[in-house]
C-alpha cells in the first residue's frame, strides 16, 4: 500500500516537475530557439577566451550567406578576415534567411540577447521605426565615436550624409556608409535601342520612345521593380526630388499631392501599356525571369544584378537572351536612386562584452579598409566618393563592362534621390503598395484614388 502511494506521488511529482522544466526552458529560449542559445553560449565562451588571451570568436547571424546574392562577396571576405587575424579573432557566420532576419533580431532584442554585430535598419527587413523606438530609445547601440578615432582611415572614408544620419545625440550609432550603390535600370539592346542615353532624356521622351517594349514590373512581394520606377517618376516631377529626399527621417504619410498623383498616373500608363505580360502577381524572380527570357526589354534594379549577365550565370537565361546585350544606365532626367541618409551597414550591440566589441570593431575596420572597399565595388558595384582609387583598380573596373557603364552614367549633375522604401512606412512599402497595384492596372482605382488609399493605409499604420 505504501509502495502504491509512493509510486502515485512520484508520478504526479514527475509530471509537475517535467512540465515546469519544459515551461522554464521555453521561457528562456522562447521563440528564438536554438539561434539565441547559440549566440549566448558563443558570447560567454568568447568572453572567457578573450580574458585568457585566446582567439576571440565573433558569431554573426547574417542573411548574407547561403543562396543570398550578397554571400558571394561577404563569405570570402569573412575568410580573408579570419586568415588575417588567425589566432586573434575569428568570425563565424550563422546563416539566417533574409525574410526571417528582422524577426529574429526583434525577438533577440526583446530578450536582451542581441548578437554583437547587427545589420543596420534598411537592410534585412529591419525597419527604421523599430530601430528608433526600441534600440535607440533604450540605448542598445554602441557608440562608434571612439572607433572613428581609433581607425581614422576608415572614418575618413565615411560618406558625410550617412555619418550625419548615423549620429544621434552626439553618438555614432551605426557604421556609416562608405560606398553608395546607385540604382539605375538595365535594358536589352537587342530589343530596345534608345535614340540617346536614357539619362539625357526627359521622362516623357523616355515613355513615348518605349514603343511596344516591355518593362519587367512586379506587383507581388514588395513590388520592388515597380517601386523603383515610381521613385524615378516622382523625381522627374516638379518638387519630386525634395519630396523624396526630405522625408527619409520622419517618413512620408500623405500621398495626396500633385507630385505623387502625377507620378502614379504615369506609372499606371506604363503598367497598362508597357508592362511584361506576367506583371500582375509577379514576384522578383518572375520579373528577373521576364527580363532574362527576352519577354521584357527593361528592368529597374541595382548593380547587384550585374552578375546575372555574366557568362557563368547563363543557366538562368532562356528564349535567346544573351547577357552581352544588356546595357545599364540611370533614369531619365539624370536621376539615380541612392540614399546617403541611411544607417550604414552594421551596428554593435551595447550589451556585448568588451572583447566582443573589440572583435566587432576589428571586423568593421577590416571591411572599411581601402582594399576591401575596392574589392566590394568590383564585385557588387558602387561608388566610394571619399576614397582615392588606384589606376589598377580603375582598370579592373573597366573590365567589368556593366558596372563601369553604370559608374560612367553618373556625372556632376546627377540627382540622387531616395527610394520609396526609404520614405514610406514599412508596412506600406513592403505590402500595401504592391497589393494596390493590380487595382491601378485594371482601372479599379484612379491615380487620385490610389494615392488616397495608400494615404489611408499609412495613417492606419501610424495610429
Amino acid at each position: 500500500m505504501k509502495l502504491k502511494k509512493l509510486l502515485k506521488s512520484g508520478i504526479a511529482l514527475g509530471l509537475c516537475l517535467g512540465l515546469s522544466a519544459c515551461s522554464g526552458g521555453g521561457a528562456s529560449s522562447n521563440t528564438s530557439g536554438e539561434s539565441s542559445k547559440a549566440v549566448e553560449s558563443g558570447d560567454s565562451k568568447e568572453a572567457k577566451d578573450g580574458a585568457s588571451g585566446k582567439e576571440i570568436e565573433l558569431k554573426i547571424p547574417t542573411y548574407l550567406a547561403g543562396e543570398n546574392v550578397g554571400a558571394t562577396f561577404f563569405l570570402p571576405q569573412v575568410e580573408r578576415f579570419n586568415e588575417k587575424y588567425a589566432g586573434k579573432y575569428k568570425v563565424v557566420v550563422e546563416e539566417v534567411v533574409q525574410d526571417s532576419y528582422a524577426e529574429k533580431i526583434k525577438q533577440l532584442a526583446g530578450q536582451n540577447k542581441l548578437p554583437t554585430l547587427v545589420h543596420s535598419p534598411g537592410s534585412g527587413g529591419i525597419d527604421t521605426q523599430w530601430f528608433k523606438q526600441v534600440i535607440l530609445d533604450n540605448d542598445m547601440a554602441y557608440d562608434l565615436t571612439d572607433f572613428a578615432k581609433e581607425y581614422p582611415d576608415v572614418s575618413s572614408s565615411w560618406i558625410e550624409g550617412s555619418k550625419e544620419f548615423c549620429t544621434v545625440d552626439g553618438k555614432i550609432i551605426c557604421n556609416p556608409l562608405i560606398v553608395l550603390r546607385p540604382i539605375g535600370l538595365y535594358y536589352n539592346e537587342s530589343l530596345y535601342k534608345p535614340e540617346k542615353d536614357i539619362r539625357d532624356m526627359s521622362m516623357d521622351e523616355f515613355i513615348s520612345g518605349l514603343g511596344d517594349n516591355k518593362l519587367a514590373f512586379m506587383t507581388s512581394e514588395n513590388a520592388w521593380t515597380s517601386s523603383l520606377m515610381l521613385a524615378a517618376l516622382i523625381a522627374n516631377e516638379e518638387g519630386g526630388v525634395e519630396l523624396l529626399n526630405n522625408n527619409t527621417s520622419e517618413k512620408l504619410w500623405d500621398y495626396n499631392t500633385p507630385v505623387m498623383v502625377n507620378a502614379v498616373g504615369k506609372l499606371q500608363k506604363l503598367l497598362q501599356n508597357n508592362a511584361s505580360s506576367n506583371t500582375v502577381g509577379a514576384a522578383y524572380a518572375d520579373a528577373a525571369n521576364a527580363f532574362m527570357s527576352n519577354n521584357a526589354a527593361l528592368i529597374c534594379n541595382g548593380s547587384w544584378m550585374a552578375s546575372e549577365f555574366n557568362e557563368d550565370a547563363k543557366d538562368k537565361w532562356s528564349n535567346g537572351f544573351d547577357g552581352k546585350d544588356v546595357k545599364t544606365t540611370i533614369y531619365p532626367g539624370n536621376v539615380a536612386l541612392a540614399n546617403p541618409k541611411a544607417y550604414g551597414d552594421f551596428w554593435i550591440s551595447n550589451a556585448a562584452s568588451d572583447e566582443q566589441k573589440e572583435a566587432a570593431k576589428a571586423f568593421l575596420a577590416f571591411r572599411g579598409s581601402k582594399e576591401e572597399i575596392e574589392a566590394y565595388i568590383l564585385a557588387e558595384g558602387g561608388n566610394a566618393p571619399n576614397i582615392k582609387h588606384s589606376d589598377d583598380f580603375l582598370n579592373k573596373l573597366k573590365e567589368n563592362n556593366i558596372l563601369y557603364q553604370l559608374d560612367q552614367s553618373m556625372n556632376a549633375d546627377t540627382k540622387f534621390v531616395a527610394t520609396l522604401g526609404d520614405i514610406l512606412p514599412a508596412s506600406v512599402a513592403d505590402t500595401e503598395f504592391g497589393k494596390l497595384l493590380p487595382k491601378l492596372i485594371d482601372n479599379s482605382l484612379t491615380p487620385e484614388q490610389f494615392c488616397a488609399e495608400l494615404t489611408k493605409k499609412a495613417q492606419e499604420a501610424k495610429q
Binding site: A12, L19, S20, S23, Q133, N138, N278, G281, S427, P438
Partner: protein, 299 residues
C-alpha cells in the same frame, strides 16, 4: 444495498480526491500558464499603446475605436461572414456527403477515405504554395485547362478582383476530411437495430437518411460547423502566402491584420484584434450550440 454501494462509492471518491487533484495539477498548470495567462495579457494590453518592447501605456478603448474605423477590418468582417456561410453550407455539406457515401461502403471506400485524408497531412503553407502554381496564369493547370476552351483566357487568380476571393476560397473548400471523419464516426455508432426496424417498416434509403442518420448525426454536424467556421476566423497561411489580403483589401482577414499590426509595432492594436477573434470564436460556439441544440441528447 444500493444506498450502501452509493455511500461506499462516495467514500472511495472522497479518499481519492487528493489523488484526482494531484493528477489534475499538471493540466491545471498548463492551462493557466499557456492559456489563461496569455489570454489575460491579450485582454489587458488591448487597452494599451504598446510597441512590444517598452512599457504598455493605457489608452482605453482607442484601439477598438480605430479598429472599427479601419477599412481593412470592415472588409475582414465581411469576408469572414461570407466564408462562414460557405464553410457551413458547402464545406461541411461536401464533407457530410462524402461521409454518407463512404458509410455505404462502396467498392474502394477505404482507399477513398485514405486519399481524402492526404491534404490534411500536408501543411497549409505548402498547400498555399501549390495553389499559387495551380492558379498561375502562364504555367498554372487551371488556366491552361480553361484555355483549351477559351484560348484568350488570362486571369491572375490571386491578384485580380473578384477572382482573388474565389481562389482563396478554393484553397480550403474541398478539404473537408475532418468533417467526414467526425460524421462518419457518428454514423458508425448508430445501432444497427434502428436500420433493421426502419427497413421492416418499409423505409427507403432516402427516408433512412432523412429520419435516422441525419438527426442522429446532428451533434457531429454541429461540431463540424463550429470547427470549420473557427478555422476561417484563424485562417492565416492560405491568405498570407497567396494574396496577403489583396488586391486592395479584397481577401483581408483578422489574422493578416494582426500580423501586419505587429509589423507596424502596434502590439496593443494587434491584441485588440485578437480579442475580437476570441469573442467571435465564443459567439460562434454559442450560436451553433443553440441552433443545433447540441446540449440535448440525440437518442
Amino acid at each position: 444495498m444500493s444506498s450502501k454501494r452509493k455511500m461506499a462509492a462516495s467514500k472511495l471518491e472522497r479518499k481519492n480526491y487528493k489523488w484526482i487533484y494531484l493528477f489534475l495539477l499538471p493540466s491545471f498548470i498548463v492551462f493557466v500558464t499557456f492559456y489563461i495567462q496569455p489570454i489575460f495579457t491579450v485582454f489587458y494590453t488591448s487597452f494599451t499603446k504598446w510597441d512590444g518592447f517598452n512599457k504598455p501605456k493605457f489608452i482605453g478603448l482607442t484601439n477598438y475605436i480605430n479598429m472599427f474605423g479601419n477599412t481593412a477590418f470592415r472588409y475582414s468582417l465581411k469576408n469572414l461572414l461570407l466564408w462562414s456561410i460557405i464553410a457551413a453550407v458547402l464545406h461541411v455539406g461536401f464533407g457530410v456527403l462524402v461521409a454518407f457515401a463512404i458509410f455505404k461502403k462502396p467498392y474502394g471506400w477505404k482507399f477513398t477515405r485514405a486519399v481524402f485524408m492526404i491534404p490534411n497531412v500536408i501543411s497549409a503553407a505548402a498547400w498555399a504554395m501549390i495553389y499559387r502554381f495551380m492558379f498561375h496564369d502562364d504555367m498554372g493547370m487551371i488556366n491552361n485547362l480553361i484555355r483549351k476552351i477559351n484560348p484568350d483566357f488570362h486571369v491572375q487568380w490571386f491578384y485580380q478582383s473578384p477572382f482573388a476571393f474565389i481562389a482563396v476560397t478554393l484553397t480550403w473548400l474541398f478539404y473537408a476530411v475532418i468533417v467526414t471523419l467526425i460524421v462518419l464516426n457518428d454514423l458508425f455508432a448508430i445501432p444497427g437495430d434502428l436500420f433493421e426496424a426502419a427497413r421492416v417498416d418499409g423505409a427507403s434509403d432516402f427516408q433512412l437518411i432523412k429520419y435516422i442518420q441525419l438527426p442522429l448525426c446532428r451533434n457531429a454536424i454541429g461540431t463540424s460547423i463550429i470547427a470549420s467556421i473557427t478555422a476561417r476566423v484563424a485562417m492565416y497561411e492560405q491568405i498570407a502566402l497567396t494574396t496577403a489580403g489583396g488586391p486592395g483589401d479584397d481577401t483581408m482577414n483578422l489574422p493578416v491584420i494582426l500580423v501586419k499590426s505587429i509589423m507596424d509595432l502596434k502590439y496593443g492594436y494587434a491584441n485588440a484584434n485578437g480579442v475580437i477573434m476570441f469573442i467571435l470564436g465564443l459567439f460562434i460556439l454559442w450560436l451553433i450550440n443553440k441552433l443545433f441544440k447540441m446540449n440535448e441528447s440525440v437518442y
